[in-house]
């Protein structure tokens, strides 16, 4: 099970501090969303026994600038995330094969529908369930976040869209153990298996992209054989 977090300088904890807590809570890996974060993945994994993966979360105002950032950052990271939040950005993200995860699609003016759901499935773009507001907001904003999660969940179930689950932690104190997340998910209508699948999906993305980055990889199902030309 993996979790994806923001780290210093975007968050209040460094990558190694987040990794220490995540390992303690039983996660197998950690995806770092912050591009500016400076860390030594090997040292952290030696010390705390958790895999740390470089991800980049692109936060752009419109699809044009997002497209530029996607082109620039794709080679630099194992997991490329694009923050949604407007209809055009969501649409752009789910229709781009190079993007791994569309984060926070329902925040702000953003919305999700059957068209985007189908596109996300075709292009294998994972949609993120953001549990942050469920754990940290209260009152009206939390009710809205729950409504949005429910709508997204119904679409994801209907169209079999790939998805990931995260609590979008900025600090190690905002992390919660997988078992707690399953309990919270159950209260708001997710099945425990869905939560586990959502946390495992980060790991699957990492494995998929590692395979693609392998020099023997040509396309899915085709690998260079052990023969000299």
């Amino acid at each position: 099970m993996y979790e994806a977090v923001a780290a210093y300088p975007a968050g209040d904890s460094t990558v190694s501090r987040q990794a220490r807590t995540a390992a303690d809570y039983g996660y197998d890996g950690l995806v770092v969303r912050t591009r500016e974060a400076d860390f030594d993945a090997e040292a952290i994994s030696d010390r705390y026994g958790i895999e740390v993966v470089r991800g980049i979360e692109v936060d752009a105002a419109d699809p044009q600038s997002a497209a530029g950032a996607v082109g620039n950052y794709r080679p630099e990271c194992s997991v490329l995330l694009v923050r949604g939040g407007t209809d055009v950005l969501n649409r752009y993200a789910v229709e781009t094969d190079r993007i791994d995860v569309l984060t926070r699609p329902m925040v702000g003016d953003g919305d999700f529908n059957h068209v985007l759901a189908r596109a996300a499935k075709t292009h294998r773009v994972h949609v993120e369930f953001d549990f942050g507001p469920v754990l940290r907001a209260s009152g009206g904003p939390r009710v809205q976040a729950l409504q949005e999660l429910r709508k997204l969940r119904e679409l994801v179930e209907q169209y079999d869209v790939p998805f990931v689950v995260s609590v979008t932690a900025d600090s190690h104190r905002q992390l919660r153990a997988p078992r707690e997340l399953r309990a919270v998910g159950e209260q708001i209508g997710f099945s425990p298996d869905q939560l586990t699948a959502g946390l495992d999906a980060w790991g699957e993305i990492v494995a998929r992209n590692r395979e693609r980055a392998d020099e023997r990889f040509i396309e899915p199902g085709v690998r260079r054989g052990p023969y000299e030309q």
Partner: protein, 159 residues
């Protein structure tokens, strides 16, 4: 009032909870209990919250780390776990927490899941991001005081 015969007394479970907060955060049992009730009321509603019947039994906290034992009805441990996960802050201090385990008695809970306290804090100056910073340190983790506020780090970041 005379206490209930044993076979109709409620069955309880005790959740061992580990708490982590900023070193300067001041959290006491009452504040934690209030936060727990508030979280349960918001997540489970009045009815669910009454069913779970969450009570903070043991509470120990000092210098940023603490342990609590939370009692819940036997059938409601999942709801109790969910409510605990939704405690984001106590009296404005953000806290991290994790359920270490669940037992049928307070004593078993303490003995099986709650560890001894970590060594005390030390204040020292560490090298972080090409500068010397004052830090509050325990074991291999530290809270660094930076111009923009506290940053939590581990000794892997000191160089």
């Amino acid at each position: 009032m005379k206490h209930l015969p044993k076979h109709i007394r409620p069955r309880w479970r005790y959740l061992a909870v580990e708490i982590e907060a900023a070193p300067d955060a001041d959290i006491d049992r009452g504040a934690f209990q209030r936060a727990l009730w508030y979280a349960a009321g918001n997540l489970l509603g009045d009815a669910g919250s009454a069913d779970a019947d969450l009570t903070v039994f043991g509470f120990e906290y000092a210098d940023g780390i603490g342990e609590a034992i939370v009692r819940a009805r036997r059938e409601e441990t999942a709801a109790a776990r969910a409510a605990l996960a939704c405690i984001d802050s106590v009296d404005g201090d953000s806290i991290g927490l994790v359920v270490r385990g669940i037992s049928g008695t307070v004593r078993a809970c303490e003995e099986s899941y709650l560890r001894d306290r970590s060594p005390d804090l030390t204040e020292e100056s560490v090298a972080f991001a090409d500068d010397q910073r004052p830090a509050i340190r325990r074991d291999d983790v530290a809270e660094l005081s930076l111009p923009e506020g506290f940053v939590a780090a581990t000794e892997l970041d000191f160089h």
